[in-house]
């Protein structure tokens, strides 16, 4: 590498070499899987980062790298952050799990927080949000609002997270509307707004008048708006630009409270490895404003459902629930354990079709 060598020596001559600056600031790193401008998953994590900056001001320095592919690139970015003196690193995608563990082994003094995974270590915590609680509220509203009794659902890939959401929404729609039917389309991509638009259009054409989405773009909202009489919900971010109709409510990831709390713990020296799965109660899952397009009584019921979950009085997966094949899953009054929920790979009774394997 002739020219780079040359360049390097030139830079050396100019005395440009800079070392990492050591100071009292707590340094927090964020590794993002998408661009901060994706308007969804990464966008919300970045809002959490900004909230950390806002909260602690001068006492904290945050750094981030966006669009980091899962695998060796992620491992390198984490290592780089650790080398440069990060005290706490949030790795915000499931695929960062093994890289996080690998890097954490090399830097025992740096704390790591991995989103949506299951491997922990002395200096690695995992955290995730109970989106399915939000799905329960959505399912309730959807079941009440549908006139065709067909609810369309756009999923990305058939992973436990998405399947859990489908089951939760279905159970709660079914509870208020026994005739309800779910049509599910798997986009088989994390991100392709045009495909999401097509999927929403197809669902509407096949009679769905409520669309639930587990993909992050507003494409389904726009398709619903065009159709005129189709209800949607915001996903990942509020998507309030489509309120009050077709977007009647939303599920929002709010990572800010957690990020602030964990940063504080590092500052205070009280950080401990933990397995956090927070929901509506802790504020990690927020329900966006339910618009006036929803009848007052339905809105009230939905808020009551939300309140019950916030108070810890109600679990969205409370028996009796059977699996799709008719076998028993939860007995009357029994609630699902977190282990089963985390790895959920089956539909509940009543849902049609098979989960792609």
């Amino acid at each position: 590498m002739k020219f780079t060598t040359l360049l390097a020596s030139a830079a050396m001559a100019l005395g440009l070499a800079s070392g990492a600056m050591a100071d009292e600031k707590t340094k927090v790193g964020f590794v993002y899987v998408g661009p901060v401008g994706d308007g969804g998953w990464t966008y919300e994590h970045n809002k959490g980062r900004l909230a950390v900056e806002e909260e602690f001001g001068d006492k904290v320095e945050t750094v981030f790298v966006e669009s980091v592919p899962e695998g060796p690139d992620a491992e390198r970015v984490m290592t780089q952050m650790a080398l440069e003196g990060a005290d706490l690193i949030f790795t915000t995608s499931f695929g960062y799990m093994d890289p996080t563990i690998n890097v954490a082994k090399k830097f025992p003094n740096v704390k790591f927080e991995h989103a949506t995974g299951y491997k922990t270590a002395e200096n690695v915590s995992v955290y995730s949000a109970r989106f399915y609680e939000g799905r329960a509220v959505q399912g309730h509203i959807a079941g009440k609002m549908t006139k065709s009794n067909i609810i369309g659902y756009i999923g990305s890939y058939p992973i436990p997270e998405v399947i859990r959401g489908i089951n939760s929404a279905y159970l709660h729609a079914k509870a208020v509307n026994p005739d309800v039917e779910f049509k599910i389309i798997w986009a088989y991509t994390w991100f392709d707004p045009a495909k999401e638009a097509d999927a929403a259009t197809v669902l509407i054409e096949q009679g769905a008048d409520v669309i639930l989405q587990h993909t992050d773009s507003t494409a389904p909202q726009a398709a619903a708006q065009e159709a005129g009489n189709v209800v949607t919900f915001g996903q990942a971010s509020d998507m309030s630009e489509y309120a009050p109709f077709p977007r009647v409510s939303s599920i929002i990831d709010d990572w800010a409270p957690y990020y602030i709390a964990r940063t504080k713990a590092v500052m205070d020296g009280t950080w401990e490895s933990a397995n956090t799965w927070d929901g509506i109660r802790e504020g990690m899952v927020a329900i966006g404003e339910i618009s006036d397009a929803v009848p007052a009584d339905v809105k009230e019921e939905a808020l009551a459902l939300k309140a019950a979950m916030a108070a810890g009085e109600y679990h969205p997966f409370t028996g009796p629930i059977k699996k799709q094949d008719g076998s028993d899953w939860l007995a009357d009054g029994e609630t699902a354990d977190d282990g089963t929920l985390a790895g959920m790979n089956f539909y509940v009774e009543g849902l049609e079709g098979e989960i792609p394997q």
């Binding site: 599910i184 097509d198 096949q206 773009s217």
Partner: protein, 306 residues
Amino acid sequence: MDLGEINPVLLVASLMVAATPLLLAAIGELVVEKAGVLNLGVEGMMIVGAISGFAISVETGSPWLGFIAAAIGGAVLSLLFVVLTQVALANQVASGLALTLFGLGFSALMGQSYVGVKPPSMGDIHIPVISDIPVIGPILFQHDPILYVGIALTAAVWATLKYTRVGLILRAVGENHDAAHALGYKVIKIRVMAILFGGACAGLGGAYISLIRVPQWTEGMTAGVGWIALALVVFASWKPWRALLGAYLFGGITVLQLNLQAAGVAIPVEYLAMSPYIITILVLVILSADKSSAPASLGRTFHASH
């Protein structure tokens, strides 16, 4: 499973929408390739068109101005390709790839403040009576104006290439640039015009995604459509109407697989998801019996040595 739930009329109508960005970009690239230039930067020009169109229509409130801006944006980016391949005589394949890389990055920088913004709507054309005819109405007369622009453009390109002097010269340049040069045609000038046209079309295609089909701005939102458009040109054996057919076929299979999923057809989803690509390959194999081949000078650099 209930195939009766698939409404063929709506299916055709929505496949036309799904096909339009592809068609616009492919028609532009077809002209470029007819002139003997291979521009692999379609994806980059589309995404720059997508953000240019989005930004301008948000700022002005007019989708029409947005589309004009998108065409200009795509064409401006293709100017870089012009400089590289026509002035600096660089390799076209590498230049095109560089254009895509650059375009993806540049559009993301441009679009930073447009995330989560909703663009003004263009609305569909609705002609009383005609649009309400059963079957034909929804398929032919209830779309957004740009969809018709795409079809009109196809017709115009076809007619121009086939019947006009400009078309003849363009083809001559693409077939044998040395001979065309010897005949006194300005090879470089014609190619530059073709590349700019291709850039403008790709820009329109991108804006169709960000303004009509989705509509939203997010980084990298064209998600590979530009590559499919490139494939489509080869698929079409450089014939405009066949590009239209190919775009509808590809859009059709994409929409059909989603329809089959929603109707609960028991074909594994991953096979449905890969079907548009496999069927494209199959059709291509069948079509390769047709020996009307690529423009002879495609991808070759022209330098007038005398």
